[in-house]
């Protein structure tokens, strides 16, 4: 019955300092990224196929194939190749097949011959805008509807919110996306066809063109957050300390927003940290659905094309994003819950 702090072993102990926490987490994150990249690297080569063939003409003499392997640095032992890849991130490298690759160098795409880092940087704003906007929609809508449902627990408004959240959760991006696009874009012409307009060029265009992808990506998650917020609020409202607040004469609103809300946010922030990875996954589907040229599209292509450098790059950047955001979530967590606050 008591309040419990979610058990997360990597969360700081009560008396750890912020600096040491950050140092520890960032070192841990780097280790994770190192392992992920090494495993991806290894798995790619575990499959018996030769990416060098992609760079060799139709009639491919063995010496040309060998030259390509050399150009790509693939004639070296796997760990040497991995080392070169790692070193390239910090020192850049020279790749015969593609030319100079300044640091941070993640290599060149086997499929499109463009620098992986550049491609990711190019597309990053798209995916960032997509996930950021969707996060806002998810949190804002999910939490607000969940709070309303909790406030009006058992009343029609609660039932509507709960029911719509069940419906939302059962929807699929690739189903809702085209459907909404058909009605809102084609039939009613309420919003423009989704595409990416840089926020620096035209903030309004950025907003209107991404509105539909945000909504679509957030629908399934929003429902989840509505339910979670509602149940967390209901649970929190039954907590002893909320009763105490009432016993002190605090008004319903104060109890709801000052006391219960804080407690309800803790699991929600935690779950959101976990959901970020899923959200990125959803972003991939959303990008496919609306042909947005983001990281997700890169990832899908990289898989289709056996494009190791791109695959590695996207994997690492994706993993780095998730790891980083989880650190942010943990810091955020400390601000909400003083019991894990840093000294």
């Amino acid at each position: 019955m008591g309040r419990r702090a979610p058990a997360r072993s990597d969360r700081w102990s009560t008396y750890e300092t912020m600096t040491s926490f950050l140092v520890r987490r960032i070192l841990g994150a780097l280790m994770i990224l190192l392992i992920i990249s090494a495993v991806t690297f290894y798995l790619f080569y575990a499959v018996p196929r030769d990416p060098a063939r992609a760079f060799c003409g139709k009639i491919c003499p063995p010496e040309t194939l060998q030259l390509v392997r050399h150009n790509l640095g693939m004639d070296e032992p796997l760990f040497v190749q991995y080392w070169h890849w790692l070193a390239g991130i910090f020192a850049g490298r020279e790749l015969v097949q593609f030319g100079d690759c300044p640091a941070p160098c993640l290599g060149y795409s086997f499929a499109t011959q463009e620098p992986v880092f550049g491609a990711i940087v190019d597309r990053f704003p798209v995916t960032l805008s997509l996930t950021f906007g969707a996060s806002i929609v998810i949190l804002a809508f999910g939490i607000v509807t969940g709070m309303i449902a909790a406030w009006k627990v058992g009343q029609p408004l609660d039932k509507i919110a709960s029911a719509s959240s069940v419906i939302g959760a059962s929807l699929q991006i690739y189903f809702v996306g085209p459907l909404l696009a058909f009605y809102l874009v084609d039939t009613m012409q309420l919003i423009p066809r989704p595409s990416y307009v840089p926020i620096t060029d035209d903030p309004v265009g950025w907003f209107t063109h991404l509105l539909l992808p945000w909504v679509v990506l957030s629908i399934i998650f929003t429902a989840n957050y509505t339910r979670m917020t509602r149940s967390q609020m209901v649970e929190q409202l039954a907590e002893d300390y909320v009763r105490t607040a009432r016993a002190k004469g605090m008004s319903n609103r104060t109890v709801f927003f000052r006391f219960a809300w804080r407690g309800a946010m803790i699991p929600i922030v935690t779950i959101f940290g976990v959901d970020l990875a899923t959200l990125l996954g959803g972003a991939i589907i959303t990008e496919q659905t609306f042909t947005l040229h983001g990281i997700g599209e890169l990832a899908v292509r990289a898989v289709q094309n056996n494009d190791l450098p791109m695959l590695l790059g996207v994997t690492i950047v994706g993993a780095a994003m998730i790891v980083l955001l989880n650190i942010v979530v943990d810091v955020l967590y400390a601000f909400i819950d003083p019991r894990v606050r840093l000294t």
Binding site: C56, G57, I59
Partner: protein
């Protein structure tokens, strides 16, 4: 693995190259064709591409190209397609798709001119004619036209042409064809890069002479009477020394053609605008009516088909180089006269077939029996019928190859569903009434069905088929070794230029058998080998064509492959465009005559 993709350079280059998705199943055609599309009510495809191929004269080579009736200059033409162009550096271009767009800004010594009747002529593009040889094809001389300019107005000189060939030896240019490279070094039998390492360290290739600014002379290490076809490949397109950015050239090639690249955002878009320094009077094949091209990528054939059918907004002025009509829409398009008015059909140079491993199935009668029992019709239906998959083939060479002769040794025209009785008779003659063959195939839903059809049909003839499913990603790695353990396996091929030398020699010259070489049937017949040498030496194209056709027949008599399809193309474009043609050389839509109505 069946390809709707006509990015067909070859199965090896395309499929095994890790870009398997291009010609492979990822295109969606492989498993996507509904059974209904193969209905017998389907109207037979006209053989538009089966046309005379000849070598044109100097007169044919002069510009400007004959006006297209009703065409007018101006406007923007849109292009929508699935994939971005993988290479634009001519030296790295092999795929037909890359070649089609390169024709707008990269010129070659020779090129193909198609007349209204569909006849194809090899003509001089940068050169005044198709080149001259006085020693049976060992030495070739080309003279450049007057008034040729790069996009910055600098003249295109013989030095540029020499340089364009020299740079192909550089270590980073590995994707393009290497015919000329192996022919321009002293010893054809040694790796060409061991003999010359490219111009970047200041060394020149002395087998190419430039006696003056207009003349280029190639000294080959052996006679190659169709070298003038070779240099029509985009891979031998012109690159200026002054603007060669090496690896980066692939993204920003310097234009010698009517358009230049304004912007190229990988995987998103390519924008071209008029190159004012191009003079149409030097160009016999390009019209350059539109002011601009805007090309967009990322559309699957379902999406592009729907957009062409809807025909709204800019899509009215849109065409596609490559995307075919989506298989599930074929019947709808065929039944709609308005759509058919803006459709294109034709045979591509791509042929598909089943290799019979002659090293394992050594008895020619058993091979012939397999041919006779083969369920070609059922396979065609499973792949979506003639329009979606292709015409049932009976020869090695495609009808799009110079000298093609139609013949049918194994009753494919009369009994396309297989003749088990005839097969049984042959097996009896072979003294092996119930042979077992191992059939290796790419494991996709469609191919599983095809395999069942093959098992059934061959079973009727008493041949037991053991299926060996292979992973799509490693298909060619599995069948590549000479000592592979399979008897029959699918493959595909397209000639690099429309003569028998690239249609036949790489696949059936028994002296070139090695691991991962294109000779997947491992056929090594001395008579065929020597016939190939003779055909290669023939200086008269028509005579050479006859010689290749004879070899084609020899190969089929050996039953080294079971021909499957002459691949077909069926595509749509927007109603606001005129002059959209099917290009039988590349097997897709051509941009050269396009105009905005």
């Amino acid at each position: 693995m069946r390809s709707h993709s006509r990015r067909f350079v070859s199965m090896t280059a395309v499929l095994a190259a890790g870009a398997l998705a291009l010609a492979g199943c990822a295109k969606g055609g492989g498993g996507g064709a509904p059974e209904g599309a193969a209905g017998s009510s389907q109207k037979p495809l006209e053989n538009k591409a089966v046309s005379a191929i000849s070598v044109g004269t100097a007169g044919d080579s002069t510009g400007p190209a004959p006006e297209v009736p009703g065409a007018k200059p101006g406007g923007t033409v849109y292009m929508i397609d699935r994939d971005d162009f993988s290479h634009l550096d001519p030296g790295r271009v092999y795929l037909n798709y890359n070649s089609s767009v390169s024709a707008l800004f990269t010129r070659t010594l020779t090129n193909y001119k198609q007349d209204d009747a569909g006849n194809i002529k090899l003509v001089g593009d940068l050169a005044t004619d198709t080149g001259t040889t006085t020693d049976g094809g060992k030495t070739w001389k080309f003279t450049l036209k007057d008034g040729l300019k790069w996009q910055d107005g600098a003249p295109i000189t013989s030095g540029d042409i020499k340089y364009s060939f020299e740079r192909l030896f550089a270590d980073f240019i590995t994707e393009g064809p290497d015919y000329a490279e192996s022919w321009l070094v002293p010893d054809a039998n040694k790796p060409f890069r061991d003999q010359y390492k490219g111009p970047y360290d200041g060394k020149e290739l002395d087998t190419i002479e430039t006696p003056d600014d207009k003349t280029v002379v190639f000294h080959l290490n052996a006679a190659h009477p169709d070298f003038n076809f070779t240099v029509a490949m985009t891979g031998y397109g012109a690159v200026p020394k002054a603007h060669d950015t090496k690896q980066k050239y692939d993204k920003q090639p310097w234009s010698s053609g009517p358009y230049k690249i304004v912007s190229h955002v990988t995987d998103k878009s390519l924008d071209l605008e008029r190159n004012e320094n191009w003079d149409k009077n030097t160009d016999p094949i390009r019209h350059a009516y539109p002011d601009k091209f805007h090309m967009e990528f990322g559309l699957q054939s379902q999406q592009s088909t729907e957009r062409f059918m809807a025909d709204t907004g800019n899509d009215k002025q849109a065409f596609t180089f490559h995307n075919p009509v989506a298989p599930e829409r074929i019947q709808e398009v065929l039944g709609n006269p308005d759509l058919m008015k803006r459709s294109l059909q034709g045979l591509t140079p791509f042929t598909t077939f089943y290799n019979i491993n002659t090293k394992r199935v050594t008895d020619v009668n058993v091979r012939k029996a397999i041919q006779l029992a083969w369920p070609s019709k059922q396979i065609q239906q499973l792949q979506g019928g003639e329009i979606s998959a292709g015409k049932i083939a009976t020869t090695v060479m495609s009808p799009t190859v110079l000298g093609y002769e139609a013949f049918d040794l194994y009753e494919k025209s009369s009994k396309p569903e297989g003749d088990p009785e005839a097969a049984k008779a042959l097996l009896a003659k072979a003294g092996n009434a119930t042979p077992t063959i191992v059939y290796a195939y790419n494991q996709t839903p469609t191919q599983e069905k095809v395999t069942i059809a093959i098992k059934e049909a061959l079973g009727k003839a008493g041949i037991k088929v053991v299926g060996k499913p292979l992973n799509a990603g490693t298909y060619y790695d599995a069948i590549g070794p000479v000592d592979n353990k399979y008897d029959v396996y699918w493959g595909g091929w397209a000639a690099d230029w429309p003569t028998g030398s690239t249609a036949i020699q790489p696949q059936f010259d028994g002296r070139q058998i090695s691991d991962n070489a294109p000779n997947y049937s491992h056929l090594n017949v001395p008579e065929i080998n020597s016939a190939i040498d003779k055909a290669n030496a023939a200086t008269d194209p028509a005579e050479a064509g006859k010689a290749w056709a004879a070899i084609d027949r020899q190969i089929m008599e050996q039953a080294a492959i079971i021909p499957e399809f002459y691949q077909t193309y069926f595509g749509l474009y927007g109603s606001g465009l005129g002059g959209v043609r099917f290009d039988p050389i590349q097997g897709e839509q051509s941009a050269l005559n396009i105009y905005v109505k």
